[in-house]
Amino acid sequence: MPALSLRNIRKSFGSASILRDISLDIDEGEFIALVGPSGCGKSTLLRIIAGLEAEDSGDIDLAGRRINHAAPRDRDIAMVFQNYALYPHMTVAQNLGFSLKLAGHKPADISRRVKEAAQPLGLASLLDRHPRQLSGGQRQRVAMGRAIVRNPRAFLFDEPLSNLDAKLRVQMRTEIKALHQRLGTTTIYVTHDQVEAMTMADRIVVLKDGVVEQAGTPLALYDRPENAFVAGFVGSPAMNFIVGKLQINGQSRFVADDGTTLPLGPLPSALDGGSVLYGIRPEHFAIGGEQGVDSRVVVVEPTGSETHIAVRFADHDVIAAFRERIDARPGERLKLMPRQEYVHLFDAQSGMRLN
């Protein structure tokens, strides 16, 4: 039985349809990331799971129990808000223990559980402070502690790291992941940052315009995106797309609009010719070789661990990434060849994966 099950969730605000028929099963202990561009409905979906918004239609089951219209407090979930939402007039200890106090636990119990939750988060010495006396990272940890103390069936995170600076974000990412491994609680994590999703999640659900574009493990999404949107969304720098046509007569060929022929890997048999998008990730180019496409270097970006080179390739702006240091100058010419086993083909009209 899945820990959380969503069936045909629909939600509209007035005439705007935010969620169209979302169905999803989440297993016990899974870390699910909901990603997508802004406006895709991921935050709305999270709030519906939490009970802060009501779905227009559809069912939500938590551990087999139907919670469609239950009050948030009856759902056995805890949420970490984007802006922390700590109670300003309460101390850290009171913030952490608030839910326990409402549930009627004895003060001694509350105090013990608060200390237990605060210790691994490094909050033990801050229990008497007020939120305004804490730094951003500390407030974030209090928000997490507040959720942990309740020992709920599921954690809901609503873009918790988007207000932190880059360095803190990286550190908190690791901490949240470690927390998940330690507690094993089912977690639903909303973010617009696909790097966060890739590094933290067991499975990623990509949303766009209220529809699930693809759901799967990070590597599955990375290696076999099911449509052009997911292909371009996951992975940084993003996948390159070349517009062209697929020619099927005897041996299949891909011809870009400017006439360049590019290599293809094995193709499924039932394919028509037609307009396609040729997708190749930046790290899947090889330099040199007789058959390489002649490309003009535009910009060279050394990041230290990689070299990103923006080139003009088959009349497209393309980025190639290499582990090695490449000695190239803007204006020079390089021969680049996409590695055929890593080519992704998508129908130009529907965006669906072809190979």
Binding site: G51, A54, I67, N68, H69, A70, A71, P72, D74
Partner: protein, 297 residues
């Protein structure tokens, strides 16, 4: 599991919170208004309540008002007083706000002290100015006398009485416009000012082309609020002139008061009150359209 869906039970909780206030408010505002309108259709007089409570001539009071010179006079007095007083309040409030809109700490203390005339009980304001306007005890009159410019009592002078009241009212209420203008001035962004200074504008030009357009909405709202409030002016007139000399300072509110509680012509007074209420309603509607606090988001 709750019985009602969370959304619905939440809405119900809000209705329970709102209902008592609405009921009370309805009982003490809508019912009396209804009664007022009903009575205004009768010639009710407390001297003979039973026989005068009939609806034979529902619009009789209103027709009589239309021809009542004393009523029409009261309307004109009201307009003169309200418009002059509000205009003065706006000008003085604006001037003081501009003067005090600076960072020196001592100015913030001055701003605080200037709140006093506005918060004083109106009866005390009336007393203060009764003293100021009574030659026997007024230091102002005495000072003028000592300088050789003796002035007679303003409030017994038919030509000056209304101005005396207007002045006293301005003294009382200019802090209100001052506060509204100050709030607007403090929210004004610095960039256009600096740009104008760099462009070479002098202080008057800066005021006329940049500051004034920005604070004009605040002035309009303040003016509307003060206008409505000015219709309620009572203690000043009651204590200073009692509507006199003659009916020179008899504003509509005062005339209604006399009709109701001196002459006991309640039907007639109700008609006057209904007209005043209509005016207040109209002005409130204007305020809500031109920038009340709570626009529906």
């Amino acid at each position: 599991m709750t019985i009602l869906p969370w959304e619905a039970s939440r809405k119900r909780a809000f209705i329970i919170g709102l209902a008592p206030a609405l009921l009370v408010l309805g009982a003490i505002t809508l019912l009396p208004t209804l009664a007022l309108i009903v009575v205004s259709f009768t010639p009710l007089s407390l001297t003979d309540p039973i026989n005068t409570f009939h609806f034979n001539n529902p619009l009789g009071n209103y027709r009589q008002l239309w021809a009542d010179t004393r009523f029409l006079n009261s309307v004109s007095v009201q307009l003169k007083l309200s418009l002059s007083s509000v205009a003065l309040q706006l000008v003085v409030g604006l001037g003081v706000a501009l003067l005090l809109n600076a960072r020196q700490a001592i100015l913030s203390a001055v701003r605080a002290v200037f709140l006093i005339p506005m918060v004083l009980p109106p009866i005390v304001v009336a007393l203060i100015w009764k003293i100021m306007y009574t030659p026997e005890v007024s230091p102002l009159h005495r000072m003028l006398e000592n300088v050789g410019l003796p002035v007679e009592s303003l409030i017994t002078n038919p030509d000056m009485a209304l101005w005396a009241i207007s002045f006293a009212e301005t003294w009382q209420w200019f802090p209100f416009t001052m506060l509204m203008v100050l709030a607007a001035l403090q929210m004004m962004p610095d960039d256009p000012l600096e740009a104008a200074r760099i462009d070479g504008a002098n202080r008057w030009q800066i005021f006329k082309y940049i500051v004034f357009p920005y604070i004009r909405p605040a002035l309009v709202i303040a003016g509307l609020f003060r206008l409505i409030d000015s219709f309620k002016a009572f203690p000043l007139i009651y204590v200073l002139t009692n509507g006199g000399p003659g009916t020179v300072t008899e504003v509509t509110n005062f005339y209604g008061f006399i009709q109701a509680f001196n002459f006991s012509y309640w039907g007639y007074a109700s008609a006057i009150a209904v007209l005043m209420l209509a005016g207040a309603f109209l002005l409130s509607w204007l305020i809500s359209r031109w920038g009340g606090h709570h626009d529906d988001e």
